[in-house]
Symmetry: C2
Subunit: 312 residues, 2 copies
């Protein structure tokens, strides 16, 4: 398995990215090859500092950098020798099985849409991330930021994509699906949510459990898959981050609240495209980068993109 | 000041309601008169059990009950001698200065809209509730459930209503206003959110601080007023409840997480109508009911409805 890592993307790049890559080696076997994509001399200097043999990696030298504040589409097309553009080209040519980056999210999405492209039949891609449940399950929530406004048929498809993710990446058999709403009753919500409820209820390929309210999130009553538009999903995810932050600032000690740390999850796959791509948080440090790499491995291992192609 | 309390509404009515009313006496002076609206014999029996002199209250006998599962509009018009309908009639006749209930929310809204009516110029009413901040401020968020889909001009008006609430009920001078969004940048969000951002930026009467993301909620960076549609606000509020519940279940001890308990806030005022009305959570018990009464007092004291009339 060949995993590409964008070394130049993220608020703490390249140092934190290379540190995370070195840490990930402890969890990878010889069968997983890591491609460090970025400025070769920076990479070698940092590896030397970390006393790590560069031959443990493939180094792919690039000369350009898409900065965090760059315009996504413009920078992607103008900086064809950037780590993000080169990563996508390699992915598209079959030289990589998966690619991950904590860099410019917009540029990562441009690459996803214009280089590797949507799987035929997929209406809109989604960012899918994990919410840790108090009963030790991991649930998947989507979308968490790509599509702030979703049509009912897009929400139905997210239910299908999320179920595939839960089954193959998280190993959950017959995952339950919940639709985020402001009440449990079928008649609640916006017209789009009500229509999505009807579509999910009728669709035989998912295990639809009905509406789920905010007070069920993270708790035993949370479904395995949580479907919402990218606006609501983004707020849910980040409110969880706020509570993890408050928990830390209060010097509390608790196993569950420790699991809430987004650094444990490392990144969110873009689901619905023809390749396995994971996007990390811009503020990712060493630990989050390591987990982003390991999550990319899990997504490649599950062959997520292929499983979605077969299902859609 | 005359405060009406619906004794028959709520999952634990009438007992918990009467208990909360008795507890509230400790925090009320002779100038605050409490009207218990409901079945007189149940009220007297319970007061006797609690060894409380009935003359501490005004008892308004009613013969009908709007059940939690009743159809809001139908039951409101058919049960004119219910505690909810009688409360609204008294409010409308000037026999009460404020009215609160933990009963059927739909019926409470029907009464708000058809009996006391919207303040002329208000586009849509909102439910406004308090979010406790880690730095000991209380912020107000609206809407938390009335309008799942909001037009930009409604969101602007919520910013104005919320600012009045923060100023007069919470005592915050020149309250900052944040618009919930999935990014801080002006260009983020749905078309409605982007348009609301433009309206708020241009409006001189509020102290607009820009977009606010989920990870700023409850923290020092939370604004004094938080504006969102009722769908998103409902999820935010209930996710907070989920974390409070998890906190309790983990046997943690922390002053801030204790403040997160919704029972401390007791109820959410309906803002934008011609009278002071507070709605409690259906599952309210003794403590939440007491706090709902005290919050109604605060809203009446601030003369919220009148302040909004003057501002709109």
């Amino acid at each position: 398995m060949r995993i590409g890592l964008d070394v130049m993307g993220g608020d703490f790049a390249p140092d934190a990215i290379i540190e995370g890559a070195v840490d990930s080696l402890r969890h990878l076997t010889d069968r997983e090859e890591l491609y460090l994509i970025g400025d070769e001399s920076s990479i070698k200097t940092k590896l030397n500092e970390l006393q790590t043999d560069p031959s443990r990696f493939h180094i792919v030298h690039t000369t350009q950098v898409i900065e965090m504040a760059d315009h996504p589409a413009k920078s992607f097309s103008q900086k064809q020798d950037s780590s993000i553009a080169v990563g996508y080209t390699m992915l598209n040519n079959g030289e990589l099985d998966g690619f991950c980056s904590a860099g410019n999210t917009g540029a990562m999405l441009v690459g996803a849409t214009y280089t590797v492209k949507l799987i035929p039949g997929v209406l809109r891609p989604a960012l899918a991330t994990i919410l840790p449940c108090i009963d030790n399950r991991d649930s998947v929530i989507l979308d968490v930021g790509l599509n702030p406004d979703c049509k009912p048929e897009v929400l139905l498809q997210y239910a299908i994509l999320g179920s595939i993710y839960a089954k193959y990446v998280l190993g959950t058999q017959n995952p339950t699906v919940g639709l985020i709403n402001l009440g449990e009753e079928e008649t609640k919500g916006t017209p789009a949510i009500k229509a999505a409820y009807e579509l999910m209820k009728e669709y035989p390929g998912i295990n639809f459990a009905g509406n789920i309210e905010g007070n069920h999130l993270f708790r035993e009553t949370m479904t395995d898959v949580i479907v919402c538009d990218g606006f609501v999903g983004n707020v849910i995810l980040k409110e969880g981050e706020a509570f993890h932050h408050i928990y830390k600032s209060r010097n509390l000690k608790d196993e569950y609240f420790d699991r809430l740390d987004f650094e444990n999850y490392g990144g969110t796959p873009i689901v619905g495209i023809n390749a396995n791509v994971v996007i990390g948080h811009g503020i990712s440090k060493r630990k989050a980068i390591m987990n982003m790499i390991l999550q990319t491995k899990a997504v490649v291992q599950a062959n997520l993109a292929q499983k979605i192609k077969e299902a859609i």
